[in-house]
Every structure is written in structure tokens, then in C-alpha cells.
Symmetry: none
Subunit: 422 residues, 2 copies
């Protein structure tokens, strides 16, 4: 079942609002076997709406529309639907019941505008909207022996969502599903997209014989996601294929994969620390609190995270962490020696089991030929040892922090799990 999502609204075209409806609908449709092949956005102009309807209806089995169903003058989707399908607006009993029950629940009198919301195109089925008066509108017909579907919903995201989740999916979910779709995503870090590609390769080799299944590389400053999509007529065969591909990827890049779920690295670190009953403290210079911020984004992090030392000035490195003035003078604040003293100082002063430290040059000034902007040392200390690594995180201050925080958490992960440090 191929589909197109058409979103309607001037606010989208001027960039005032980010279109979150498309991704939400696509994700939900995917789960019930409706595959979105295209998305388009047009303004609140009848001519353009009609031409989008025409293109969608001619080229796809399922046309899904959001926006322009409200009660005000600039909402012209219902009128456009009538024109396109040559239908009349008729008072719909079920729609009126939905609207009346909603308004009485919220103690709002039934206005003329609200009653008009119960007028829907003939032959369309109203889908209940628990959070607003604009009904979802669903239409099905057979053209040349093939079913075609049209679904229109209001553009307000939470109204659209209740129509999808509470009305459309429960009633119609079994209608579209003729194949099994499995998704799996590995989140990797500490390896570039290109190097990961060299290790794992492209979909053609791994997925041979499964032309509809895909392997996608999705890079970001925190690492590259590897997304596997398997499509199959049969659940067992889909599971079998997925398992084979998973095993292949793991055999090539296992230590770079920090999760198979949609979790950030700080949650993985948290799980490990909690399980091993270990505590953490952090000494940050150039990242200015960003690593600590990420660690404390995890609910329950107070179970293992004790405190951080954000030592921007040299004086604070000396006073809070016991870094030696001599070491600062001899090697500079961005050095392996200072980084290690910071980690050891954090460990000692907080009495934690592990400490992360980082010192570097986030830019845009402060670089030199020996230590260019982007340079950073990260150390991990426990009571037995200190491990340190040198990095360059580039010359953009915000990306520097993003990459540095990920590298620091990943170095801790590798130490905690006894993985190789490259």
C-alpha cells in the first residue's frame, strides 16, 4: 500500500512551524503496512490543494492530508475535497454526536461554527477527534478493481494524533497489512561514517536477495546510526533475515555499537554504573558542564552521579582539583598531565569510583600550531589507573562540545566494559 502525505498550511511554507505531522504519520503508517513514498506541502490556496490532490490520487493508493479543517476563513480543505471528489457537504449525525459530547465535556456552548463542523463530504466517514471539533474524514472507493483511500485530518498535531491513534488505527489497521516490516537501529560512536562503511559495507552485499530491505547510514555529531529495514511476506523469514544481518554487522563493528535501542549514550552509561553499583564524578574545562548536563538528563542519575567540577580558570583547577601549578606552567592546561591530575583530583575530592576529566580548546581563539583549536585530552580515572586519549573535535564551539561529550562518555563506556581503547 503506497501513500503520499500532503500537509497544507502557509505557516509551513514560511518556515514558522516545523512540520512534525509528516514524520509522526509516516511512522504510524509504516507500522500498519502503509508505505509513504512521497510527502508534499502546499499553502492555503484552493488551486494548489486541488493539484496536490490530483497528483496524489493518480499516483498513490492512499492519500493522507492534514491541515485546513478548522472553522475559520482560511480553512478550505473540506471545500476542496468536495470539489475534487464532486461531493456535497452534508450534516453527519455521528460527527454531530462527537462534537456535542466534546463540547459538553468542556462546558462550551454549541456554536454555529461548531455545528458546521459536523457537515462533512457525502460518502466520507467521520473519525472521532477527542480534542477538537474538526473530524477526521475517511473515504474509500474501488477504482479498476483496486481499493483507494483518502484520509483528511486537522493540522494541529495533538488533534491529528488522537484521530490516528484512537480512531483510525484501531478501526482500520488490519486493512493494509500484507507484508511484515522490521526495523532495527544500531547506534555507533567513535568511528566515522566512512570508516564504518569500510568495515560493514553497503546493503547490496549484506542484503543480497532482499531487494526491498535496506541498510542506511545516518551520521550525526554523536555518531552514525545504522538502520536496517527488512520487508518480507512472512514473519519467520523476516526475523531470520534480520538476525543474519544483525550478526554480520556485530561481527564487523561490535565495540562501536553502544545501543540497539533509541537511547543516548548517557543512559547506557547510567545503566552500567547502576548495575555495577559504581559512582561517577566529572571534571570539565572546555565542555563547561555539557558532559554533566548529559549525565543528569537521565532520571535517577542521582543514584550514581555525585558531583562535577567545572574548572574554567587555572586557579579553579588548582584549588578545586589539586592540579599542580608547576604542571600547568610546564605543559599548559591542555595536556595529558593536567587532564590526568584533573581526573585524579575529581576522584579524590568526590570519593567516587570513576572520574571523567576533559581539558581542551573549544575555540574560536586560543589555538596554536602545536595545539590547534579543537584539541582535547580526555582521561578516565579509577582507584587503580588513569587512561588518557587525545582528540581533535574541530573548530565549531557547539559541535566541539557535542563530539567531546560523546567521546568522553564513550571512553568511560569502553573502560567500564573492558573494551579495547583505540
Amino acid at each position: 500500500m503506497n501513500s503520499v502525505i500532503i500537509t497544507i498550511g502557509d505557516e509551513l511554507l514560511i518556515g514558522q512551524v516545523i512540520n512534525t505531522n509528516q514524520a509522526y504519520i509516516a511512522h504510524k503508517f509504516n507500522e500498519i503496512g502503509i508505505f509513504v513514498k512521497q510527502m508534499s506541502t502546499v499553502g492555503d490556496i484552493e488551486k494548489e490543494i486541488l493539484s496536490a490532490f490530483k497528483f496524489g490520487w493518480e499516483n498513490f493508493d492512499f492519500v493522507c492530508v492534514t491541515g485546513g479543517l478548522g472553522p475559520t476563513h482560511d480553512d478550505i480543505t473540506k471545500k476542496s475535497i468536495c470539489k475534487f471528489f464532486n461531493k456535497k457537504l452534508v450534516a453527519n449525525k455521528d460527527a454531530l454526536i462527537n462534537i456535542k459530547s466534546l463540547l459538553s465535556l468542556r462546558n462550551i456552548p454549541l456554536s454555529k461554527l461548531a455545528i458546521e463542523q459536523a457537515n462533512i463530504p457525502s460518502d466520507f466517514i467521520p473519525l472521532k477527534n477527542k480534542l477538537g471539533t474538526a473530524q477526521g474524514l475517511f473515504y474509500q472507493t474501488k477504482i479498476k478493481n483496486k481499493f483507494k483511500y483518502f484520509l483528511a485530518m486537522p493540522g494541529v498535531p495533538y488533534e491529528m494524533k488522537t484521530i490516528i491513534e484512537d480512531s483510525f488505527i484501531p478501526t482500520y489497521k488490519s486493512k493494509f497489512n500484507d507484508e511484515v516490516i522490521l526495523h532495527k537501529t544500531f547506534k555507533t560512536t567513535g568511528i566515522s561514517e566512512a570508516n564504518l562503511f569500510e568495515k560493514v559495507g553497503d546493503a547490496k552485499n549484506i542484503l543480497k536477495g532482499n531487494p526491498k530491505s535496506t541498510l542506511a547510514y545516518l551520521p550525526s555529531p554523536r555518531g552514525t546510526k545504522l538502520r536496517i529495514t527488512i520487508r518480507s511476506k512472512n514473519k519467520n523469514s523476516a526475523n531470520h533475515k534480520l538476525k543474519k544481518i544483525e550478526e554480520f554487522i556485530k561481527s564487523k563493528a561490535s565495540s562501536f555499537i553502544y545501543t540497539e535501542q533509541n537511547l543516548e549514550l548517557e543512559f547506557i552509561i547510567g545503566k552500567i554504573l547502576k548495575k555495577k553499583n559504581l559512582t561517577l564524578s566529572i571534571a570539565e574545562s572546555c565542555t563547561g558542564g555539557y558532559i554533566s548536563n548529559r549525565v543528569t538528563n537521565v532520571a535517577g542519575s542521582s543514584n550514581y552521579f555525585l558531583q562535577s567540577f567545572i574548572t574554567y580558570s587555572n586557579e579553579s583547577k588548582i584549588k578545586m582539583l589539586g592540579v599542580l601549578k608547576n604542571t600547568l606552567n610546564k605543559f599548559g592546561s591542555v595536556s595529558k598531565q593536567v587532564s590526568e591530575q584533573m581526573a585524579v583530583g575529581a576522584l579524590k575530592n568526590s570519593k567516587s569510583n570513576y572520574a571523567i576529566s576533559i581539558t581542551g580548546i573549544a575555540g574560536p581563539t586560543g589555538g596554536s600550531i602545536e595545539k590547534p583549536i579543537g584539541s582535547a585530552w580526555i582521561s578516565i580515572a579509577d582507584s587503580n589507573k588513569v587512561i588518557s586519549k587525545f582528540y581533535n573535535f574541530g573548530n565549531n564551539r557547539i559541535l566541539f562540545k557535542e563530539r567531546a561529550s560523546q567521546a568522553a562518555l564513550d571512553l568511560l563506556r569502553r573502560v567500564l566494559l573492558n573494551l579495547q581503547i583505540f
Copy 2:
């Protein structure tokens, strides 16, 4: 100048990624007189990409494409461009220089894949990408006496943004503008959208007689932006209108406006501290480093920011900040008393001129009837006084940090500028 934005990527069609590129580009284009009339999204399939190019090129003056410019097998946009425009991929000297300088800065060896990124369609101009190897690709031609433009960029949002902001707009912004469009944005904080609306009112009253000019309220966790857009054939008249509206808004809401530029509050704080030659330290509990992170997002913050104490545990509040055990026992860690001792402790231990402190309950657990989740005390201390304020930032952990950091920085701003504290 009419345009279409075509975004390419399977991750968009399955709903894995929310398409933020469209809104960003539409917004930026708007400012330089390129009006987006349609948006569409297609998958990583050559046939569909080509058909989207065809539709766009036939119907619009400017076609803007993102996605599919990376180095791996699923990136087929460059190939599709060559096919569509009948061009060949040729090694481009400027592109190679861009790529080499980027990689050497980050200490990454020049791989075969990276060199291939310097091959671009003939007659296309590479637009420098400061944050990745995929170049922006710009093409202009004249068809039937009318200029047509084609711009392709990688889909990674921050790479696309640097190409737009640092390469495309500075070079080409004057090309598309046939009327004067002035934008001005006031960033407010510490007042809800509804209350701001009560003070300032809607566009109709302020902008009467200027039907193409608008006033938009754009709420976010950091406050509400007020965006004025003036369109006029004439520069003087546009400036005059803008000035009148600016004065009106300021007369109504001046103290809530922290900037008239596109700057975050931490930059404003930084400017004030630097100008007054003052230093800052921070004691954070519930925000876990997020305030410090924001303060250090400012290049040059080491001039005024000394250090932070991220005291998650009670022990660290006692040890690092000198909070009294008695006070913790009697009033609890989320109390005015503890907040003030934290601020005073930070001031004393860092010898800074000002200190911010915060203690609160970010959730999802830890709330009580007297102190529900979301509760927080924020204090600002200098050598003469401590000012404290109670807040509730709601029960979402990430939004809590966002709102709390903004409130803390705004309280400091009000203290530094001798503004009324509500």
C-alpha cells in the same frame, strides 16, 4: 522569486527523522526574497528524485534540494543531478581545497571517499561546507530570458545551515530581492505568550494599513519571540514603519526584551559582565551543569566565567559550598535557605563578583505535596546581598532544565541591570 524545497531521504519517509530543514530553509529564503510555494519529500530512489527535479524545474524559478550528498552508497543526489542536467562529475579545485582544509584541521587522513566528494557536476559552483566534506552545489542558468537556480545541500542540518548562512546567503542574497523586506525580532523571557499578547496586542492594530506586514508570536521554552516583518516597495517607508512598531512594542514590554538580535541570553549576560568587568561562578544542583554549559557556549566566556560547582549529592553541597548540614536537615535541599547558602558558598570559594545558584526537583520522582516536581529556588549573590526567587518549571526533565537555565540567567540579567524583579 518562487521556489520549491525538495528534501531527499528514506529516513524522512519512514518517519525516523523530523524534517527541520524545510522550515529552516523557508525561513532563511523568505528573508532574502525567495518565497517557498511548495515542499516535497522523496526517498533515495533515482527515478523519484528525477521526477521531483523535473516537476520543480518546470514549475519554479528556484529549486532547493537537501539530502543524499554524503559519501556512501545510498547518497545518489549528485548522480541524479548529473543525469537530470546532463552534466559530468568533474574534480573541482575549490571543493578539494575546502575538503582538505577541513580534514587537516581535524587530523583526519584524506580518504578516497573524501577525494570523491570534490567531484561535482560541471558548471556547478561548490559552496563551502565548514562542517563536512559534502559541498553545497549551486547552478544558475537562463531559460527564455529568465534566470533559474538550483541549489543542492547535504541533509545533515548543521552542515546545511553553515552552507546557507556562511556561503550561500553572503554571496547571493541581493540576487533575488525585488521588494524591501525588513525583519526584526525581539526575544522576550519571563512572561507567558498570553500575557505578552495582552500587553502588546495583535498585528491588526499595530500594523494597520500594512496588509503585507505581520507580527508573529513564537513561543518556546526559553521565552516568546516577537517577529515583525515589514514589506514595502520603498526602503524609507519600510524603515519608518518598522521604527514605529518597534517603539510601540518597547513601550509595552521593554524589560522582558533581552535582545533585539538573534542571540541567546548567555551572550547578553556575557556582554554585560565583560563591559562591567565582573566575574561569575555558578552552583547547580537540579540543572546538572546546563547553566554552566550555556554560559560557556559563548566564545570568550573564560574572561568572566571562573568555575562551577555541580553539587548533585547533599555531601557535595556541604563539602564544596559550605552548605550547613543543619539547614539541609531542617529545610530540605530544595529550599530558599539552601539555595542562598549555595550562592554565597560559590561566591566565597571562587572569589567571583556574582554567583548564581539553583536547587530544585527536575523529576520524574522526588516531588511531594509541599514541594511538587518542578519546584526550584534560584539565588543571585554578590558581596552585598542575595536575591532569591521561587519557580515551578513543570514535570518534564529536559524542559525543566531549559526553563530553569533561562530563568536563572534572566534573574542575573535583571540584577545586573537593576531591573524590577517580579
